[in-house]
Symmetry: C2
Subunit: 277 residues, 2 copies
């Protein structure tokens, strides 16, 4: 059994990015990530903290735009417009989830696709779907990176994705259907989840529910990528019960230290790749 070391991969990606940024800065280039946060969701605050730290470490400026949770959709869109008029902003993300009363899609459509490093605008989703993307959404990018990094062969394998969310399940299922495998997407409407997970050669879980996947639900030598995140107090958990599942898995990502840090690294990589100039 191999534990996939997300922190090691992250270090590698960030070092390479830092070198590139140092060179580009000497040529007069600057990079700045603007993050839009609405409300005080604890997980969001923690993710943003990680993004800020990583940005500053490799030489990307960072600015947080923090709005109260009762802001209206239209007002938030107006704020976005103003933020994006600042030509020093080279990338922008709106931290999800947004409060329920906000029309998230309308807000996302107000992100300039050239700044959209989370790849959430319909413009960039279209490129992704058509297979002509130059950036991928950070979490799917991190997952695909780790699969390649650990030389995991997914050709003709049965991949089961659990979760169909905007950030992971949905874009990842589009990307993986373009590949040479069989793909099943499960979600909260799936009856008898374990009948699917038991068949999987590779399980990618992105729900945010502690112990959703346990040892009895997987077959021997399964590969487990855990992209779920949920907090209990300050402690972070994935979807997978690591203790029981790791006894059967061939490869497994831990939480913390698995997909999470690589996701941040891939976000920063996107800031360079999207090339908004």
């Amino acid at each position: 059994m191999t534990i996939i070391d997300g922190r090691k991969s992250t270090k590698k990606i960030l070092s390479s990015l830092k070198r590139k940024i140092t060179i580009l800065k000497k040529q007069g280039r600057r990079f700045k990530l603007a993050v839009v946060l609405v409300g005080n969701d604890q997980a969001s605050l923690s993710f943003i903290k990680q993004k800020e730290k990583s940005c500053l470490r490799i030489g990307i400026d960072f600015e947080l735009f923090h709005f109260q949770s009762d802001i209206k959709t239209d007002d938030l869109c107006k704020k976005l417009k103003i933020i994006q008029e600042d030509t020093t902003v080279s990338a922008l993300i709106v931290q999800l989830p947004l409060p329920e009363h906000i029309n998230a899609r309308q807000v996302l459509e107000n992100i300039n696709p050239k700044l959209d490093v989370d790849c959430l605008t319909s413009f960039n989703l279209g490129k992704l779907t058509a297979g002509i993307y130059n950036i991928l959404p950070p979490t799917p990018a991190a997952i695909i990176y780790l699969i390649k990094e650990y030389k995991i062969n997914i050709k003709s394998k049965h991949i089961v994705i659990v979760g169909k969310g905007e950030l992971v399940g949905k874009p990842l299922s589009i990307l993986l259907t373009q590949d040479q495998n069989t793909l099943t997407v499960c979600n909260k409407h799936t009856k008898n989840l374990e009948s699917y997970t038991k068949q999987a050669d590779l399980i990618i879980s992105a729900v945010g529910k502690k112990d959703l996947i346990t040892g009895s639900m997987v077959k021997k030598d399964v590969i487990i990528i855990d992209a779920g995140v949920n907090f209990r107090g300050k402690k972070i958990f994935g979807d997978v019960d690591f203790t029981s599942v790791s006894k059967k898995a061939k490869f497994i990502t831990p939480t913390p230290g698995g997909v999470g840090p690589v996701t941040v690294a891939k976000l920063l990589e996107n800031i360079l790749s999207i090339d908004s100039k």
Copy 2:
């Protein structure tokens, strides 16, 4: 066992469209579908014939632009530009497949999204993926229409799509993942296809391979939507062996007379819906 009657649904859709077009024409509106064909693929010629007939029947003008199979990608793109400069063209499709030497994606990206009634540009695919579309690709639209028309409940069901092509499998899998079901996408890289089809509550096949799905590969009371098309001489076949599968199915589409005609009707519906003005 119920045979899904695509021709009956088509008549209904076309009558409604004809009424709408008659009213719109009195208001001075005109509609014209431009079809771009490269080479002489027999199936393509047959599809185009059907589209032309249906267009003329309900009052949509039709123009075919037929190019030789050795046309280069760049030249085809230039031709597209000229065709789309004609303001009487309100919708345009490039008949797929294009010859191998042509970069199909490059050609499709040269379609004006406002004329793109096949919903193949990355712009319109992005809207589809983001869930903010006003048109759907014709075959997925036809399939979803028939499912609703026959009041087939797909909530919490296991849907298996066979095929991941640009016209059916790919867009349909994106649409159905946004729904409340479990979805598996199989393709030519799938090992042991019948282990998946046997689990399915609903099978949608869109490969173009005669007798790909036979009675022994499905469970009792399965619902079968056959969107495969292949010609043997002038005779048209789907993917499904109707004789053996219909003995076990609860609902089944025949070929011909199933998904095909509804697809044409949905294409024509898109010409009105896309509203290029």
